[in-house]
């Protein structure tokens, strides 16, 4: 809502307070003022002048030589504006005037002839484009004939006006009207509100003889009032009205339309003027539209309607979309003589449905949607009649033809001083509360510390105690509330075990060198099925798509974090960032329902992607690239950190490298995978060699029960032995390692691989894997015979199981 302060002054006194101060006051106690704007920049010494004569400049085709009466003197001025002519009243910057941009007007000679001043356009007077009516966009501004010659142009042009932009919250629809703003400002400044005149000199003729009103659904349209005004003269509305409309952001059209818009802004009540003669009927019937019924609205667009849309008809066909826009068939034109003025109350939900269906949103519909004041509907009609009589020469007929089932009652809200102070933490007296209610101009009955408040119908947002609590608090001032801390029940704050563990996982990953990312949960059709972990696939997940996606890129709820994570890798590669180690913890959304009837499972997953060099800027050392075993080391380290047994097996998964992919198992449950992306996918996504891991965090969190307890540190020395086996190439080192651990138990505490060799001195198809074994007996010092015996058992077992022999 744009609030012109000059206009506001008609209803409430705001002298002695600057626009900025007022904006701050309003912001602090009720409604955020987003902006303070002035209609025009400052200029001085610009007066109204009368063009006594206007002739062509003898030495220039496009210039005119004008003699202008500016009251005390007559000035010869050369003017280049195309629309200047004899008999006009114009804005004259006299010599010595200063226009915006510090442009000083001096006497000058133009093509040999003296020019003593300048006839100004509104642009030259510093008006913003939006405050200039269309007809004066090119050329000079022309005042009405009655403009006083020699006087300053400022009052007539409203050029010193300041406009406050109110950012209204949905509950404060009352301030979608100048009167509502006046009540608000009046309460803040403790000033009364002056209501405008609704005086009408109705004639003998009765409106009821010209029109009847029938409403089919009183719920959708509880009030419809029809006023008839005859013999209007369509012409421009008065300059002050045009200025106020421009200030409020509405383009002036003609006096009749401008008056309905003016009252809409003044009272917050939408009105509509029909050309009575073009209605072609003596009745108004308000009903819901028939399926596929059409109407051409004022913007010349044909709208197809349905029974959810309320229409105003002439008994036959629609003449307006109720509360939204009038029809072209009954539009007021320059030939209009007689008017039917509608002042009605339409149900907000019904108007919203029509707005949604047609995509039409207007000043009217906005107000109906947010709710209007039931007590102002008829008054707004009367106010418009008053103005039509005054500024359109109309004759208002006796009476309003109305359908009326409107509830105009005021809501009663009981408040008391004690509860108010308890809720606010304040010590406000009952007298102070009474004073606040008076400032708000709310009626109330007081019984010592108890009040019965009659919330005015303009404030539809006030229905319960808490609403009044807010009114008292904001007028009392939030700055005046003390700072206190809760004194009630003590509560222990903290993180849950799950949250703590998640932080531990994050700390580990960041400690080993990964950066956390945050990607979108919504992905595209092309990626929704990619890189979904096998154990998620066994749940038969159905992709979940949005009912109305904004784009194809963000249409499905992700089944894996990886695709969006890989997109960020592509993004970085395209910007020459080649070495990336990223991880993300977030939810995937799993359901097996085709049509969702309940919430999907939200499964927390941990995904990572690594590519390029692991370490950068090394000297004298190899620039190590990310490879499978580096990533595996990070994953293994995580499970070691969590004291959880991880098993890694060779596996296959679509979009993954067939020979470099492993499944991750925890206590017999598959929990994810890791490995290198399939080169085909790498190519498709413009990636280089890329490794990923993807882990079901739900299972990890569930399986984690580690409570550390002290184990005696061994007092006896340990013994290490190395052993190298020659194995067939397809025998997995990890499997042999497991056999060694198993056979060597309990003396063998650790088995570690320390070398892998293929090539010279080994037969074709063979490899040598060297293990380091750690023997330890917690009870005594080991003797050589024991170790040797175990060692031989291991050799034998590995030999039998894998056809392996010891490499000498």
């Amino acid at each position: 809502m744009l609030v012109s302060l000059n206009w506001l002054k008609e209803y409430v006194e705001i002298d002695g307070i600057s626009p900025e101060e007022l904006a701050d006051k309003v912001t602090r106690s009720g409604i955020e003022v987003d902006n303070v704007e002035y209609v025009a920049e400052n200029s001085s010494n610009v007066v109204i002048g009368y063009v006594e004569s206007c002739e062509k400049h003898p030495n220039a085709d496009k210039l005119n030589l004008c003699q202008v009466d500016v009251g005390e003197e007559k000035l010869q001025i050369i003017c280049g504006a195309p629309n200047v002519s004899q008999g006009q009243k114009v804005a004259v910057a006299k010599p010595g005037a200063v226009l915006p941009g510090n442009f000083k007007i001096k006497r000058a000679k133009l093509r040999g002839i003296e020019s003593n001043g300048m006839i100004c356009s509104l642009q030259e007077l510093g008006f913003d484009e939006k405050h200039i009516a269309k007809e004066y966009a090119e050329g000079i501004f022309v005042f009405p004939e009655d403009a006083p010659v020699g006087e300053s142009v400022e009052p007539l042009l409203n050029s010193t006006d300041a406009i406050l932009e109110f950012d209204l919250t949905p509950n404060r629809a009352d301030c979608l009207s100048m009167l509502g703003v006046a009540y608000e400002v009046g309460a803040l400044l403790d000033k009364p509100v002056n209501l405008p005149s609704e005086e009408v000199h109705a004639g003998e003729e009765k409106a009821a003889d010209y029109i009847s009103v029938k409403v089919e659904d009183e719920k959708l349209n509880p009030y419809y009032g029809a006023f008839v005004i005859k013999d209007v003269e369509i012409k421009p509305s008065p300059l002050w009205m045009r200025n106020y409309l421009l200030a409020a952001g509405i383009r002036p059209i003609n006096n009749v339309v401008d008056i309905t818009n003016y009252v809409l802004l003044e009272y917050g009540q939408p009105l509509h003027a029909f050309d009575y003669d073009r209605l072609n009927s003596k009745e108004i019937v308000v009903r819901t539209a028939k399926q596929d019924e059409t109407i051409v609205t004022l913007d010349d667009v044909e709208r197809t309607l349905n029974p959810e849309n309320l229409v105003i008809t002439n008994g036959q066909e629609p003449v307006a979309l109720a509360g939204v826009m009038g029809g072209a068939n009954s539009e007021v034109t320059s030939d209009t003589k007689n008017i039917l003025l509608e002042a009605a109350y339409f149900d907000s939900v019904s108007v919203r449905k029509t707005v949604k269906a047609t995509g039409l949103r207007s000043e009217s519909s906005t107000r109906f949607e947010k709710g209007i004041d039931p007590n102002r509907v008829k008054h707004a009609g009367l106010r418009a009649c008053h103005l039509l009589e005054k500024y359109a020469g109309g004759k208002v007929l006796e009476g309003v033809v109305e359908f009326d089932t409107l509830d105009r009652s005021e809501k009663e809200v009981d408040i008391d001083t004690e509860t108010i102070n308890n809720r606010l933490g304040t010590d406000i007296s009952s007298d102070e509360i009474a004073k606040i209610l008076e400032r708000l101009q709310f009626n109330f009955d007081r019984n010592e510390d108890r009040f019965k408040v009659y919330a005015p119908s303009r404030r539809g947002d006030i229905t319960i105690f808490e609403d009044m609590l807010e009114e008292v608090a904001r007028i009392y001032g939030y700055d005046n509330l003390p700072f206190t801390l809760p004194t009630g029940t003590a509560t222990a704050g903290g993180l849950t075990k799950r949250q703590l563990l998640r932080r531990a996982v994050k700390n580990y990953l960041e400690g080993v060198g990964l950066l956390e990312t945050r990607t979108y949960s919504l992905t595209s059709e092309a990626y929704i099925q990619k890189l979904v972990s096998n154990e998620v696939k066994t749940l038969n997940p159905e992709p979940i798509s949005l009912a109305m996606p904004m784009s194809e890129d963000h249409k499905y709820l992700r089944l894996s974090i990886l695709p969006e994570l890989l997109k960020t890798v592509s993004y970085n590669l395209a910007r020459n960032q080649y070495n990336l180690s990223y991880y993300e913890i977030g939810s995937i959304f799993v359901t097996n329902e085709k049509d969702l009837t309940k919430q999907p499972d939200e499964q927390l997953r941990l995904s990572g992607v690594l590519t390029g060099k692991w370490l950068e800027h090394l000297w004298q050392m190899e620039n190590k690239k990310v490879d499978f075993y580096l990533v595996k080391g990070i994953v293994e380290g995580l499970f070691e950190h969590l004291e959880l047994p991880l098993t890694v097996n060779q596996a296959q998964l679509s979009y993954m490298h067939p020979g470099r992919t492993a499944s991750l198992m925890l206590n017999g449950k598959e929990i994810g995978f890791m490995g290198q992306l399939h080169p085909a996918l790498e190519k498709e996504m413009d990636l280089k060699e890329t490794y990923v891991f993807d882990i079901n965090m739900e299972t990890v969190l569930e399986e984690h029960h580690h409570e550390p307890s002290y184990t005696q540190i061994p007092r006896y020395p340990s013994v290490t032995r190395d052993i190298a086996f020659v194995l067939d190439n397809d025998v997995h080192a990890g499997v042999v390692q497991a056999t060694i651990s198993e056979v060597g138990a309990p003396l063998v505490k650790q088995v570690n691989v320390f070398d892998l060799y293929k090539g010279e001195n080994l037969p074709e198809g063979k490899k040598s894997v060297a293990y380091n074994l750690l023997y330890q007996d917690p009870e005594k010092t080991l003797v050589d015979e024991e170790v040797e015996k175990s060692y031989q058992e291991i050799i034998q077992a590995v030999n039998e199981k894998y056809n392996a022999y010891v490499r000498s």
Binding site: L469, T489, T517, L546, A547
Partner: protein, 344 residues
């Protein structure tokens, strides 16, 4: 014999003086003091001396031995020190060459901000709760006093999946879920961070996915001044002790009264500048006293219980605190962005 000893001493000391490596010094030591050394040879002749002469010569012999031994040891130390010095000099390295890098990772800026806020409120007795990102219409709207046909729940503003399910548009449903879980009996303080989604076109100030942190405190006799006190503590810890707060009236369907909280602008110290659009204040969060209908739907009797709630956007806070000027940076994951914030 005494002359002989003196001569040996003189000769030995001269040799020790001249020697300049440890090996030769050792040879000198052996040639005088060793079993076959010249001093030892001479002393072997002591037996032939008279009992009167023996102690006198013996004393001289000891003096000579001591003098030679001392000289050798002293020289030894000197030579050893010199050798060590030489070795250390040879071992000198260029300490200005770079160290071997270790990999350094770190949290996302939003996580950093969220965890900082979590820890602040944990310190004030708040628990941290979470809820589903796919919400029911009931918890996302209805239980928060946003009945059907409320303008704020327009299909245009939310990502609906079905008529009853949508991506949550705020973390407020966790408020409703928490109240339901505590069955209208337990006083509690909680915050709930999480991802939320709205139908916004991504640009410098909008993102279809973003994060929120909401807080809720329900107890008997919770006052609006308590809200002001808690928010003041939070603002000072989060933005600096010298920051002030102010509350302005606002509107949210789930609180009444509703307020917005501003903090005094850090850039201009409240004087007014381009960052705060000349007002001296910067909007940080929305808050209010829990609407009685919300308490009631959560199973709490609004006659007995009251509460306050607040909600803020970690993106906005991160943008203000760290000067990030485009919300999309949080979701592009440009490594040059991420690496700016991984320090402690």
């Amino acid at each position: 014999m005494q002359e002989q000893l003196k001569a040996i001493q003189q000769e030995a000391l001269a040799k020790v003086q001249e020697v300049n490596n440890l090996k030769e010094l050792q040879a000198i030591k052996v040639s005088y003091l060793g079993k076959k050394g010249s001093l030892t040879q001479v002393l072997r002749g002591m037996g032939k001396l008279s009992p009167e002469e023996r102690p006198i010569v013996g004393e001289v012999a000891n003096q000579v031995r001591e003098a030679i031994t001392n000289a050798i040891e002293e020289k030894n130390t000197t030579l050893e020190n010199a050798a060590l010095e030489e070795k250390l000099q040879a071992e000198a390295i260029d300490v200005t060459l770079p160290g071997r890098p270790t990999k350094v990772g770190g949290p996302h800026l939003l996580t950093k901000v969220i965890e900082e806020i979590e820890d602040l409120f944990i310190g004030m007795g708040f628990e941290v709760r979470e809820g589903p990102e796919v919400e029911t219409d009931y918890f996302n709207f209805e239980a928060l006093n946003l009945p059907k046909n409320h303008p704020a729940r327009d299909m245009q503003d939310s990502f609906y999946i079905t008529n009853e399910l949508l991506l949550r548009t705020h973390t407020s449903p966790v408020q409703a879920r928490t109240m339901k879980e505590y069955k209208g009996e337990k006083a509690f303080k909680m915050i709930c961070p999480g991802k939320v989604y709205r139908r916004d076109t991504d640009d410098a100030t909008h993102s279809h996915q973003f994060t929120q942190i909401e807080g809720l405190f329900v107890d008997k006799d919770v006052k609006m001044s308590d809200l002001k006190g808690i928010l003041n503590l939070f603002a000072k810890k989060m933005f600096g002790e010298e920051r002030n707060i102010r509350l302005r009236p606002s509107f949210f369907p789930f609180t009444e009264p509703s307020v917005e909280m501003d903090i005094s602008c850090k850039v201009c110290q409240g004087e007014g500048c381009s960052v705060c659009k000349g007002t001296g204040w910067i909007e940080i969060l929305g808050a209010g006293m829990v609407h009685p209908k919300v308490l009631e739907m959560g199973g709490y009797d609004p006659k007995v219980y009251s509460g306050f709630a607040f909600g803020m956007g970690p993106e906005r806070i991160a943008m203000l605190k760290y000067g990030v000027n485009d919300i999309r940076q949080f979701y592009l994951n440009d490594s040059r962005f991420l690496k700016q914030f991984h320090q402690a």
